[in-house]
Symmetry: C2
């Protein structure tokens, strides 16, 4: 089955053609400008590919209520050109095929739970830590939406006493994870790009502290069977052992499950699909749309 996948991001739009097994045959990337400037190229890309359905993993906030008139629209984004843009409807109208849509991180969570690090797991949380921080969750095999959809990057955390900028840099929130631990926060805090910070710099201890707190709050709230940490910041693989160690210290034995106490190396993990988690998940959203 040929399917389309769109990863709609704030800086680029990644289009892919693949199948229901998560294979990707072809890929193209377009800069995210205004809808008028961007949408034509995306539709052109998908138009003659013989795809049966399209899945979109998008930046948000999105309306994901299938019964709402604005289902599939981008809603109150600060990217003003895309505010209230009917992203899903534009593709339905242009391609005349089923189109599924979810948040980028929910798509990645679905991809990882199906073909990635959590194959066959019905309860998994996927975080991206990069320019922003976001989280998607699968609970009992269903992607969590609720009233809107999670915005896990804005979870409030305890400041690290070693942090020279304990309030973080989020324009909305004092001390949320995105403002304290995304890539730009590391750079603003130390005046040097994260990539240039040596591994033994205290910056990474603080980063691990915040990401471990994030894991702890995720464990006590959602009790997932696995936590997958992706995104550009997590390309720093030395963070994984630090985050695992600190998560164990912070939990302090409270959640007494062998998956945590004995196998944390297999509990907090990098994406099995690498940077393809979102694209593969979007293909699976296309499958869901076909079956809806």
């Amino acid at each position: 089955m040929r399917l389309g996948a769109l990863e709609a991001g704030g800086t680029k739009m990644v289009c892919a053609i693949g199948d229901e097994k998560g294979n990707i045959f072809e890929r193209a990337s377009f800069p995210t400008l205004t809808p008028e400037e961007t949408m034509g190229g995306l539709i052109e890309f998908f138009k003659d590919k013989g795809i049966e359905a399209l899945g979109i993993g998008s930046f948000g906030p999105l309306c994901l209520d299938k019964n709402a008139e604005n289902f599939g629209d981008i809603t109150t984004t600060p990217k003003l050109a895309w505010k209230d843009y009917p992203l899903r409807k534009a593709f339905v109208d242009a391609l005349n095929i089923p189109v599924g849509i979810d948040t980028d991180v929910n798509a990645a969570a679905l991809g990882e739970a199906t073909y990635g690090a959590g194959q066959g797991i019905d309860s998994l949380v996927y975080y991206t830590i990069g320019t922003g921080v976001g989280g998607g969750a699968l609970v009992d095999g269903v992607l969590v939406h609720g009233m809107v959809h999670p915005e896990m990057g804005h979870m409030l955390l305890r400041p690290d006493p070693r942090d020279p900028a304990p309030h973080g840099f989020c324009p909305y929130h004092d001390g949320c994870i995105e403002g304290m631990a995304n890539g730009p926060a590391i750079e603003k805090r130390w005046g040097i790009s994260a990539k240039e910070l040596p591994e033994d710099h205290v910056a990474w201890d603080i980063e691990a502290e915040y990401l471990a707190q994030m894991c702890v709050n995720t464990i006590v709230t959602l009790s997932p069977k696995k936590i997958v940490l992706g995104g550009g910041v997590m390309h720093q693989m030395h963070l994984f052992p630090r985050i695992r160690k600190r998560t164990l210290e912070l939990l302090n034995g409270y959640v007494a499950h062998p998956a945590i106490l004995e196998n944390i190396d297999d509990y907090i993990v990098p994406p099995g699909l690498g940077d393809n988690a979102g694209a593969v998940g979007s293909l699976l959203l296309a499958v869901q749309a076909l079956n809806d």
Copy 2:
């Protein structure tokens, strides 16, 4: 249909007889001693009541994996007499009827979503703030279990600069909500029972701050359609407007949904079933067990 409900708590066991509509006909309370001392009276209470099924909302941690050998057992509790006690199995063996079990707070969440403050809502979080703090969640109509089950009371939060005990009093965690905001924490912090603190004491501002942070982290993680706050501390009704106001301030417009921005009075609410949420939810767990 006659059903049994057991609210199994650390200090008392509340037994009730009711029906699938949440009506409660009869109730009795027993102190929680050891299983040997306590279980006989509970079984005796339920034995001749003509109930078709029993639902249990219990303190934890519990094994809630229906495929596990120890499904329905209390597991690693610090209440040592109950450690590894097969609570569900004891009632199955004694009463020979279907027995459902979940955490006390998941039971209350189910009760509130069915007959309480969130009637007909498929996504709701229920917190109890009392001697302990715990949270239960319904996502897409399903109670969240995941790997074990949530332990939301141990979510880490930012210390309030006005707090003379910003690390809280949890023996496990530095700065978790239970250790900072349960009833005993208020008493330890101020050296006076929470009930005797006047409404204009800064203690309540700090309490509202922590409970608002808890609501914020819940909103960004689970995006529930309603948050119900119950338990002894929430009998202080003046906390509700303070928590709502502070939740709005902390979110700072980030989750732009009318249920929050315009109707927060109807979004963060006391239990519609009052202190019966757990008993009614347990009756519904009995119904689920019948249908399983």
